[in-house]
Structures are given as C-alpha cells and as structure tokens.
C-alpha cells in the first residue's frame, strides 16, 4: 500500500491545471440544454404524455406490464385517429425504482419534454416523490398501482387534486372477501408484510373490518426489505394458531418467504391470502409454491369477459404470446383511455380540463369490465375478484380459479378534504 507508483498522477493533479475541465463543463452544459429548445404547440402536434415506469432497478419485473398497458392503449387511441385530431405521444422515463430518480424524471418530462400530463410511477414512495413536482408544475398524474388509500397527512402524495388513482385500495381489494374467508377458514389472522406504509396501512384497514366481523389478529410482523431467512417468523406463525396468513410482503421477499414457508411444510396447515402477488410474481413463484393460495385484485388475466378476451388478444399481438399483464398494467391501460375520453369530452388539452374531464368518467371497455373514476376523491370504482391458485398450473390461463367476485366495488371515501 505504501508504495504507490502512480502517485505522480495524483500529485500533479493536486497542483495543476484543469483548464480542460472547464471546457468539458461547457460542452456538457450545451448538451444538457439542447433538447430543451422551446417548441410551439400547434393543433397537429401530438399530445405528449410522460410515462414513468420502473424499467431498471429492484422492481423491473413490474415495469414491463406497467409501460406496456399504456403503450397498448395509446396505439389504440392513435389508430382511431387520436383525440381532437391530435395523436398521443409517449415519452418514457425510467424511475430506476428510486424515488430520487422519479423527482428527476418527472421534472425532465414536464420542464424539458413539456408533456401535457404524466402517468405512472409504481410504488407509493415513487408516487409520493412525484407529488410535489406535479403540484408545483400543476400537471396531472395518473397513478396505476394498488395502494394503501388516501390519508390527508400524506398530501401531496395523495389527496392531491392533480392525482387520479386507477388501482384498488384495501376497502376494495380486501374488505369484500373477508367474510367469505373467515366463514370458510376461521377467524384468526396472522399478518405478515414488508416494513413500509402500504402493508401497514392495508393491515390497519383490514383489521378494522375484521374486528367488526368478529375476527381476531393473532400476530402481526413487518419484515425489512431483502430478508433472506424466515425461521423465527415461521415459528411465530406456527405458534400463533392462526387460520389465515394475510400476506403483504412485496418484491423478492415475497418469493423468499413463500419458498421457505413451502419448504417448511406449512402449506397444509394454513391458508395464505396475498394481496400483492399478481401474474408476474405468481409466475416467479412457480406452481409448487403458489398452489392453493388465495389472491385478491381487481383484475386477473384469466377473468372471463368479452372485454378482457379482446384486450388480451390485442395485447398479445403487440407484445408476444408469453407477455404478462397484471392489475397495474390494466390500470395504465384504463388511465390512457380515460384521459383520452376526458380530453375529447372537454375539447381542451389543459390540466384543468383534464381534471374536470376525468371526474366521474366511465369506461365501458376496461379489461376488468365497466369502471368509473369517482369525481369526489379521484378513486376508481372497480370490480374485486378473489382467486385461488390452481394446483399444477401451467400458465396464466389456468393460474387462478375464481372463488367469488363483485362487479363494482365502491371504496370508502378518501380521508381527505373532499371534494378534491
């Protein structure tokens, strides 16, 4: 270590000239600025939409369906001649699954690409990061993910008049199925989730209804991200005497936990109900690990209705027959179509017009059926499905079997200053 034959370089560096650096900075400055040259909008110009998706980073797995849903919808809108004679143009930004990058990308899309509105962000943290940006720039954000619901204290990440929520929240995703699960399997719940807001709030909301129905929470644990080993948790679950494991782990921890839960031979003794694992994650789990578990969402690829059949046909034509869709991708799809309808309705491409137009808009062709954006709190009214993972499934078509469903579930009002 002490002998450092390249020390000379370091030494010279400290002492001397970096004039070249200044030039580099200048060049970089110009390259930064070049795309920002102001363009004037005209009637024939496209309507620009900034889409922020997790294309790289920890949640890349969800990123594909996420951006694909929006792209498919935009193709359909443009094929039908666009809106007000203008086509949609997507400008994609990679969030890298990092809230910090969302701030950068949202600003880039708004300030430099001059998009008319934004869609996307994936996790609640990403959405929250975008909150102040869309508030100060006064742009609309269409948010697709199932999430914890809106509480005033998290403004401007929620309860924001510039945000529209296209995914389900717990009173839609969980409440409708609690009675069935309790009657069938028992009243004792063990809650396990990743340690952040979505699992915690989801559990809190679930608990409220559960207690009303006479249920009981016999254990509640939150797991830090990237936990490799689950011995003590599995032991606690076994000791708790629970009937149902209510599961809100996400990311790779979902897989880690489920692999070890299955390996411990606990599948036969408990019923597991997850509100996180859509087609992509369940595919990742594989049939042995996922079989027999319960899942609830607003959308599954396997739900049977004409809308979905037609939707999947178009989706597969564009993205290949093995491409996966999920609740988030479908929410992005709905978001694009509903934004187009809103613009058509108001005849104007502006934030105010889009906000007014989206309120109480109905979309007949949602892959999950007819859906409606509630004007009061910008929360989507959606169906809710409870599914069981089939034993020995071979693909998304036979992955889930339907247990029960509700075509249209009104969520509780958002805990915000209403109307937004």
């Amino acid at each position: 270590m002490k002998k450092n034959n390249s020390g000379k370089i370091i030494q010279i560096t400290r002492r001397s000239a970096l004039k070249g650096m200044a030039t580099t900075a200048g060049v970089a400055a110009v390259s930064l600025a070049a795309p920002g040259i102001i363009r004037r909008a005209s009637a024939a110009d496209p309507i620009k939409v900034g889409v922020i998706s997790p294309l790289t980073g920890a949640w890349t797995v969800y990123g594909k369906a996420h951006s694909a849903g929006f792209e498919l919808a935009v193709d359909e809108i443009n094929a039908a001649g666009g809106v007000l004679g203008r086509k949609f143009e997507i400008i994609l930004g990679d969030s890298k699954t990092e809230p910090r990058i969302v701030v950068e990308q949202a600003n880039r899309l708004i300030r430099q690409e001059r998009v008319d509105f934004l869609a996307g962000t994936f996790s609640s943290a990403e959405r929250n990061a975008a909150g102040p940006v869309v508030t100060s720039a006064n742009k609309i954000l269409l948010y697709p993910t199932f999430y914890e619901g809106q509480e005033k204290e998290y403004y401007p990440g929620v309860c924001n008049k510039n945000m529209f929520m296209f995914g389900p929240e717990p009173t839609q995703q969980v409440w409708p199925h609690l009675e069935y699960m309790m009657n069938k399997f028992g009243k004792k719940f063990f809650m396990i989730g990743s340690d952040y807001a979505w699992p915690r709030v989801t559990n809190q909301v679930t608990k409220r209804r559960l207690l009303e129905l006479g249920g009981e929470v016999v254990g509640e644990v939150y797991i830090p991200f990237n936990t490799p080993q689950y011995e003590s948790v599995l032991r606690d679950i076994r000791a708790s005497g629970a009937n149902i494991i209510f599961h809100t782990l996400t990311g790779s921890d979902t897989v880690n936990f489920r692999l070890q839960y299955t390996a411990a031979g606990m599948k036969k003794d408990f019923v597991l109900w997850t509100v996180d694992d859509e087609e992509v994650v369940t595919s990742g789990l594989g049939p042995d690990v996922s079989a027999g578990d319960y899942v609830s969402f607003d959308y599954f690829m396997s739900i049977e209705n004409p809308n979905n059949t037609a939707f999947l046909k178009r989706f597969r034509a564009k993205f290949g027959k093995d491409a996966l869709m999920n609740t988030v991708g479908v929410a992005m799809y709905n978001a694009a179509h509903m934004a187009a309808m809103a613009i058509e309705k108001t005849g104007e491409v502006s934030t105010d017009a889009l906000r007014e137009g989206l309120k109480d808009i109905e979309f007949e062709n949602g892959p999950q059926g007819k859906v409606r954006m509630r004007g009061l709190d910008h929360q989507m009214v959606l169906p809710s499905y409870l599914m069981r993972v089939r034993k020995g499934w071979t693909g998304v078509n036979d992955m889930f079997e339907e247990i029960q469903s509700f075509p249209s579930v009104e969520p509780l009002d958002a805990r915000c200053q209403l109307p937004l």
């Binding site: 270590m1 002490k2 450092n4 020390g7 370089i9 370091i10 030494q11 010279i12 560096t13 400290r14 002492r15 001397s16 000239a17 970096l18 004039k19 070249g20 650096m21 200044a22 580099t24 900075a25 970089a28 400055a29 390259s31 930064l32 600025a33 920002g36 790289t56 994609l92 930004g93 990679d94 890298k96 990092e98 809230p99 910090r100 990058i101 701030v103 950068e104 990308q105 600003n107 880039r108 300030r111 430099q112 609640s124 943290a125 929250n128 990061a129 909150g131 102040p132 940006v133 100060s136 998290y154 401007p156 990440g157 990743s194 340690d195 952040y196 807001a197 979505w198 915690r200 991200f225």
Partner: protein, 340 residues
Amino acid sequence: MKQRTLKHRSLLGTTPGDLLFSEPGAALIVFAILALLPVFFSGYMIYILPQYMLFGVLAMSLGLLWGFAGLVSFGQAGFFALGAYTMGLSMKSGGGIIDPAYLGLLLSLVVGGILAAAVGYFLFSAGVRGTYFVLVTLALSIMLEQIAVSQSQITGGWNGMFIDRMSLNLGPFGKISLFDDAPMYYVILPAVAIIYVILYTITVTRFGKILNGIRENEDRLISLGFNASLYKTGVFAISGAVACFAGALYGTHANFVAPSLAGVLFSTEVVVWVAIGGRGSLLGVLLGGILVASFSNYLSAITPEYWQLVLGLLFVAVLLYFRGGVAGAVAQLVNARRAK
C-alpha cells in the same frame, strides 16, 4: 543557509500563467460558466443543475476523504440522506425563533459533523484502518437506511417525507421565494462555490498537508508525533458535515426524501463519481459528480442497461490505468504541453 539558486517552486513567485493553469484558476472558469448559464438557458436544465451540483458537493466530501486522507467511505449517501431528513424535520417544526430553513441547514452541519466525529473517533482511536473503515461505513449507510425505514412516525418510513422549498429569509427585508428555478440556482451555486473554496483551502493548509501525510504513510506520521486518529476524525467530521449540508439543500430542492437515498447503491455511485472525476482534485471530483450524474440521467433514458455497464467498466479502467481519473489525465496533458 547558503545563498543558492533553488529550483523549488515554493521559492519562486507565481506568474499569471501559473494561476491560469492552476486548479483555482480552472475552478474560477467553471464557476463563471455555471454562473452565466441561467442567462442563456432556462427550464429543466436550470432546475436540475443545482441538484447535480449538490451531488458534486457530495462527491467532494468523499474526494476530501479519499484523495487527501486516503480514507474511502461507502457511507457518504447516508450522511446526504441524514441531511435531507434533518431539513425536512426542521421545516416541519417551523423553526422556532430562527427561520426553519436556516435551522435545518445549521443542524445538518452539526448533526452530520457530530455523527461522523463520533463514529470516526470511536473507530480511529482504536486503530481501525482503511479496509475495515470501508466496511463500517458500508454498514453505517445500511443502518441509516433501515432506521429511516423503521422510524416511520418520524421519517414517513419507506414512503418518504415531503420537504418544502425553502425561501431566503432576509429578516427585516422580507423573504425571497426560491420557488422558481433561477433564484434557487443562484442560492445553491454560491453555496457550492463557497464549499469548494473552503475545502480547497483546507487542502492547502497545515491540516490538509497532514492529511496528505496520513494518506502517504500513516505510521511515519505517527512516529513524527502527530495524533493521526484525531486528524482522521477531523476530516471525517468535515466530510460528514459537508455531505449532510449538501443533503439538506438537496432535500429542499427536490422536495422529497426517501430511505433509499441513504442506500448502499447510491453510496457506491458516489465512489464511482469520485474515481472517474479524479480523486486528487476537488474540482475534478465536483465535475465528476455533476457530469456523471447528468449523463446517467440522459443516457439511462436511451440505454438503461448498457449505461450502467459502461459506468462499471469505466470505474475499473480508472482504477487500473488512470488512478488520477479524468482530472489527473487532464492535468497530465496540460503539464506535458507546458513542459514543451
């Protein structure tokens, strides 16, 4: 002392040419260019550049440690995030008798400095050196991230925390809003320049020279009677304070902070900036932070996978072939030119 013609540079006066070709001269040009940019440009670039400049400051906080004292920290992002959280909490608290933003900035210096000093003293006084120090700082940033996640009632947990944009409180003369890009730019730019000047000054003072001694040969320095662990604690404290302060400004600029800002991946990104920029030169490091971060932003939209790969390869190449980084290479070129 015999009267002789001596070649040592310290015995010769500096000529104007020397100034132009010295690091401060180059820094003057860089800051002048940065100061003029908002005159010619507006929009996203003027919005985002202050953020990258703060990344540059974060890089300088590591550059001081690594390039001058020979200590590598894989935990600088932890201090950066700590600063952002400090700012956020201070803005929420309303500040009491002093302006909350100023309180946040002040506290960030204190909190970052004290945490680094405590950790540094704890380790250095027991002779924990180089490689172990890296591992501890790595663990430190993981711990800070986990604390930010788990103390959700204070930090907002994994969902993050909102931070208002600060305004410039001029006391009796009122307040200047920093909501728009240009005013914010002209607050952050001088802050960055001042930090640069302070850090540069540190490197040429007695303290800075002793740091060089630690980097070159800590045992020799101890044998000369220097309390090396105290100097190392000192430089780590300065570095922590600077990173934390930059984080506070970043927080109020981005309006948001989440735990992943403290994470290992971001921490090590800083190491990459510094290596590429050239750890021996604070200006090189500053520009390394600004340029690599901005290229990351632009190129990642075009080729997200390959850009990271290129960055990784560049990092290895710098370690193997250009230990002085870009700044070192530029300096070599300039010196070669001048020698002719």
